[in-house]
């Protein structure tokens, strides 16, 4: 794992991407810090950070797109996967390398609240809690980006998929608000989602019986629950959407609340996507 970590980290700094990412990120945080805190006169650093969560959408794909797609393209995955090293170690090494780059940015950001102290009373606890939240949010996006990089041989495709999904996570909150909250439409929406899942299952496995089986069992389950306890479906779509909305969780940090459940949430997201990436790499053997 350490070998992969070192190699990835070095490659970020032999190419320009590492420097570009760090510089660009710092510039944006700096500008927002300048306008919100220094010129705006707010003592809360968390406002500066919560205003710029959207830059993950732009910058994370830049950092993560090459991680696995490039190995696939250069066929160096053949070297990695035929070496005595597990897929999990490869993925963890890569993730920690990319996370380290992001940590460099956050380490520098840690000095900003201290600058504010010079001008008056600043709640350092909330400021640093927000920085922790921001770091975790970044980690979640990086893990997602890593996963999308494993899906393709092309960096461009990986970047585009990440970009679309990230935009969706930002907009999720607004989309959830316009969706109906009554239980019947919730049932319909879940049925449609089930249909999409079945389609994906079919595309991945090319097995008609499994697909139809999943569809029937899922639909039966949905309908039974709907008939037995229709109230369960009240507002469920919105709830589920909000659960997937990575960014809304960050709002609690920005409000100055250190919510442990959000920390657990982000760490779970990271774990889930790292696991999925490992599976995606292993699956390649079977195709």
């Amino acid at each position: 794992m350490l070998t992969i970590y070192k190699k990835e980290l070095r490659s970020y700094f032999t190419s320009m991407i590492g420097y570009v990412f760090i510089a660009f990120f710092l510039v944006i945080i700096g500008i927002n810090f300048l306008f919100t805190n220094l010129i705006g006169g707010y003592a809360n650093f968390e406002y500066a950070l919560s205003g710029i969560v959207f830059i993950f959408v732009l910058l994370v794909p830049l950092l993560t797109m090459r991680l696995i797609a490039e190995e696939n393209k250069q066929k160096t995955d053949q070297l990695l996967l035929t070496s005595p090293i597990s897929a999990r170690a490869i993925i963890l090494g890569k993730f920690f390398a990319v996370f380290t780059i992001f940590l460099i940015v956050m380490a520098i950001t840690c000095t900003y609240p201290l600058i504010l102290v010079k001008f008056g009373t600043v709640s350092l606890a909330t400021a640093y809690a927000t920085i922790v939240g921001f770091t975790l949010l970044g980690g979640a996006y990086l893990a997602m980006g890593l996963f999308f990089s494993a899906l393709s041989d092309s960096q461009v495709v990986a970047a585009i998929i990440s970009f679309i999904v990230f935009i969706f996570t930002v907009l999720m909150d607004s989309i959830a608000k316009i969706l109906p909250t009554d239980n019947k439409s919730a049932w319909i929406i879940f049925s449609v989602i089930l249909l999409i899942i079945c389609l994906i299952v079919f595309l991945m496995m090319h097995n008609l019986t499994v697909t139809i089986g999943t569809g029937l069992v899922g639909e039966l389950l949905l309908t039974t629950i709907y008939i037995m306890q229709p109230t369960l479906f009240d507002g469920l779509v919105v709830k589920v959407m909000e659960w997937f909305s990575v960014i809304t969780r960050f709002d609690t940090f920005a409000l100055g609340i250190f919510d442990l459940s959000s920390v657990v949430y982000y760490i779970s997201i990271i774990f889930i996507f790292l696991y999925l990436t490992t599976q995606a790499i292993k699956k390649k053997r079977w195709s």
């Binding site: 070192k6 250069q74 160096t76 995955d77 035929t82 070496s83």
Partner: protein, 357 residues
């Protein structure tokens, strides 16, 4: 008791055992029930036309892709059950050398040594030894993307040797190299075979016959022949036929030849001039009739201008066994002549057409 002892020896000498290997991609079967064993210290050559399943088989042995059916065991360990242990025993040079273009040769080999878990105290020495062996020492501080194809191939080879694994698998190691480099790589492979077991693939017959102890010819994923290269030429290559050019009238020459009992078949070939008979004669495979023919012609006073035993080269054997009906060369000739015939017909029709006008 004796048997048991014998069996144990056999187990120890066999390094790889491939059993009933099948790989399917959708409806296409890339490898079709392939079985073979490789003994320790052998050089095994995989030979087959492009798309025969060579690379797929190698990828399965190295654990890069999985088999649909069958098993691969190396030193008694299954590739799929104990992948990490097995992978320690293998060095692999895939079809495209897996290089990082932005690293220098030294950095790259350092990285490879690390992921192959070479011990720290041995690493430095091993890297310089291997660079010396593959003759890339001069290039050690160059970026890989600036290297020529030949050097890239060598760096790939250096990567495969790293850690001195028991088994080295090379997928078309000499592709894209100039003749001098090819000879160097072949010598290197021979050098390596003193300490390692090697599997290499190629679609070039001479290469395999020059280097390998055993040749495995596969076609469409199936094992066609597996034997020593010299045995292949001996068994499959012997045709027992003689090609003759004799000065004299054709019919009379054939009359003389007919008197030799051991000749089973006489075939005329197109002659360049009328007073020279061009003839191919056949006998049983293991009989040498050259002297008999010589004396017969001598007595009849027909001088032999040329006498040549026709032996199939490995190349011919390769073509023969990879085409189920060994008539492909003839077929191409036939179709060519057919084309010519058609052209003639066409021109005749045109002529007729002109006449009609």
């Amino acid at each position: 008791m004796y048997d048991k002892f014998n069996l144990r020896i056999k187990e120890e000498t066999i390094l790889i055992e491939v059993k009933n290997l099948v790989k399917r991609y959708g409806n296409h079967t890339a490898v079709d029930h392939l079985s073979f064993t490789v003994e320790r210290g052998q050089i095994l050559g995989f030979l087959g036309p492009n798309g025969a399943g060579k690379s797929t088989t190698m990828n399965i042995i190295t654990g890069y892709i999985s088999a649909s059916e069958g098993s691969v065991t190396i030193q008694g360990m299954d590739v799929f059950e104990e992948p990490e242990k097995v992978k320690k025993l293998i060095g692999y040079l895939p079809e495209f050398p897996p290089l990082y273009p932005d690293m220098t040769v030294k950095e790259y080999l350092n990285f490879v040594a690390d992921i192959k878990q070479v011990k720290k105290q041995e690493k430095g020495q091993m890297i310089s030894d291997i660079m010396e062996l593959t003759k890339i020492t001069d290039m050690s501080s160059r970026l890989i993307k600036h290297l020529s194809k030949g050097y890239k191939q060598r760096v790939g080879l250096a990567q495969a040797i790293m850690g001195y694994p028991e088994l080295i698998i090379l997928d078309e190691p000499t592709v894209g190299l100039d003749p001098k480099q090819i000879i160097e790589i072949r010598d290197l492979i021979k050098e390596l075979s003193k300490k390692h077991t090697i599997i290499l693939s190629s679609h070039i017959m001479q290469e395999v016959s020059a280097v390998c102890d055993t040749v495995l010819i596969i076609d469409k994923g199936k094992l066609v022949v597996s034997d020593k290269p010299e045995m292949l030429t001996k068994h499959l290559g012997a045709t027992g036929s003689l090609k003759l050019s004799i000065r004299g009238e054709k019919d009379k020459v054939i009359d003389v030849l007919n008197k030799i009992e051991r000749i089973t078949k006489i075939e005329e070939r197109e002659a360049e001039s009328e007073d020279i008979a061009e003839i191919t004669i056949y006998s049983k495979e293991d009989e040498d009739i050259r002297e008999e023919v010589f004396y017969a012609m001598c007595d009849a006073k027909y001088p032999i201008l040329e006498m040549q035993t026709i032996k199939m080269s490995l190349e011919d054997i390769f073509l023969m066994v990879t085409n189920v009906d060994n008539t492909i060369p003839k077929d191409t000739v036939d179709s060519d002549s057919k084309v010519e015939e058609k052209e003639i017909e066409n021109s005749e029709e045109e002529n007729n057409h002109v006449d009609n006008l």
